[in-house]
Amino acid sequence: MENSKCIEIKDVSFSYLDRQILHNISLEVRKGECILLCGKSGCGKTSITKLINGLIPHFIEGSHIEGQVFVEGDLIAQKKMYMIAEKIGSVFQNPKSQFFYLDSDSELAFALENRGIDSDSMKKKIDETIKSLHIEDLIHRNVFSMSGGEKQLLAFASVYAGNPDIYVLDEPSANLDSNAMERLKEQIRLICAQGKTVIIAEHRLAYLSELLDRAVYIEEGRIKRVYSREQFMSLSEKELALMGLRTTKKVVSTIKQERTDKKQDDCDLLVDNLAVDRGGKRIISNISFGVKAGEIVGIMGKNGVGKSTLLRCLCGLESEAEGQIFLNGKRIKKKARQKQIYMVMQDVNHQLFGETVLDECEMLSDGENAEEIIKVLKQFDLLDMKNRHPLSLSGGAKTATGFSRGYSR
């Protein structure tokens, strides 16, 4: 069995800027295994992926590491990054910042060009990649015109073209819609079938349920438990929720159209026959619905169907081309909507301006007292972090801050 040991993490502790992130992590991965790293946001799963692909210790400055990491018998700390790169392929969370070139064709060749492979075998490898991953729709395109999902599939493909033995995926689905996620799942299924070793740190678990061999649950920088696939799948929703995890089962949503023709006057927010244009094109039209105070409404649909356009219009970033929007029975126009309706954007980074989380909330709530804000922060589980800078928080906590800010308004 010694031979098939592919990755070996031996008692590793890691701290970054004097904050201890990982405590005594030990983990062995066999060749061809698909391992899921899961846990709450900020638990340290991303750091474990970085131990494997060499970003720790080669890339991250200001870090302190104890213990050793071996990949196929080699000590990672002693290998150069570009040597590791030939064996281990990594896909990261943010699709926007993973591409180097502006067009997809060049991007697919990037890893191969860096290795100095001759152009004929490079072309062959790229063609193979396109065929086996079914990404014919992604070639010859400007990367800036691609959706987040497409960018992520391209990132995966460009790693795949390099044919690594080990794949390290750090929350690859974080910005994907269900369609792109399905495609990503097929791509991962393919590499698993090829006998590659796959390490995935992930929040969304359902799409991986058929693929994973073992699941590693991490809490506050420690490995709490390692589950086999069967054990992991048999965890109940309640247990998962306690662990801070999402469901492992596919959710089939059924929507009952309950209140399509309800009377208008008992709704607090009312949208009447709304149409919105962007760039000279009609994006959405004939939208009518009403929402009561306290209701939570989910808007669903494929990428590009107009979900964000509708929200942008609701909060006053777009003007209505037709129709009207009423709040508490009074019509509100674009400028007024900007003041009275708040939106947490997809990339919440742009919305956080304050020096600390507390400051962030105070900036918006004119005149509200401090106790009120503390209460809100407590509700959002942010009280411990109230003196940290909003942008130093993990992705999930940032979004929560965005929310609480909107809330304290």
């Binding site: 502006l102 060749a109 015109s145 708040y342 990339d347 980074n349 919305q351 301006f353």
Partner: protein, 242 residues
């Protein structure tokens, strides 16, 4: 929004099909020649002749739209200088005079630049830089800078919108602009570097390419013609024949 952009791209692709590629190195030489013309010219008329020539070159390389645009801009500027400035109040003349003047002078360079950009991908530029044996220490930052310009635009739009959703004073607005821009630049730098490093950008071997660029006859002819026109134009200018 994405759909619209894609449609634009589709049409761009179609347009690209008829576009001939100017070798980046040839393009840079033409740009150099245009620069020399701009610096040496005395009379504006001379620049106009060169602009007309560059327009024809743009046409040959399959960018009719750019050609027409530049001709219209040229005509517009001449018209403004001749027919509007003599009658306009002086502050307009001061503010826009320099605009039209510099604009007209810069046209040859702009046209050469546009021709270079429109007929090449960023990848071809990098390839050309590598063929000219530039060090990777310069090639990589240049590539990243070019790649980051569209990102700055995108970023700017986001920040601008986020600011609409709150009341801010001017100082806060400036801060609210610069800080998120810089922060997102920092994260992008970090993440992009991660992605590039794990794909072997630090590999010391000589980098290869999936496409090839070769200087062709057409490139040589274009450079030769540009040089000829430039010399003729400058000689005429110096002798004061116009």
């Amino acid at each position: 929004m994405e759909k619209i952009m894609d449609r634009e791209l589709q049409s761009l692709k179609k347009e690209n099909k008829y576009k001939k590629s100017l070798d980046p190195r040839a393009g840079i030489i033409i740009l150099l020649i245009s620069n020399v013309v701009v610096f040496m010219q005395k009379a504006a008329m001379v620049g106009t002749i060169y602009v007309i020539f560059m327009g024809i070159l743009l046409l040959v390389y399959g960018c009719p739209k750019s050609c027409i645009k530049f001709y219209i801009v040229l005509l517009g500027m001449i018209a403004v200088q001749r027919y509007i400035f003599p009658y306009a109040p002086s502050w307009i003349v001061i503010l826009f005079g320099i605009f039209t003047n510099y604009g007209r002078r810069m046209l040859p360079c702009l046209m050469a630049g546009i021709m270079l950009i429109k007929t090449n991908t960023m990848h071809r530029f990098i390839l050309a830089m590598r063929k000219m044996r530039w060090t990777e220490s310069l090639v990589i930052p240049v590539a990243v800078a070019i790649r980051y310009f569209p990102a700055i635009r995108e970023e700017w739009q986001h920040v601008h919108e986020a600011m609409k959703l709150r009341k801010l004073s001017v100082a806060e607005k400036l801060e609210g602009c610069l800080v998120p821009m810089m922060l997102s630049a920092t994260t992008t730098a970090e993440e992009l570097a991660q992605a590039a490093v794990t794909r072997g950008i630090e590999n010391p071997v000589r980098k290869t390419s999936y496409e090839e660029i070769k200087i062709e006859w057409m490139d040589i002819v274009s450079v030769g013609l540009s040089l000829m026109v430039a010399i003729i134009v400058l000689v005429i200018d110096n002798r004061g024949l116009l």
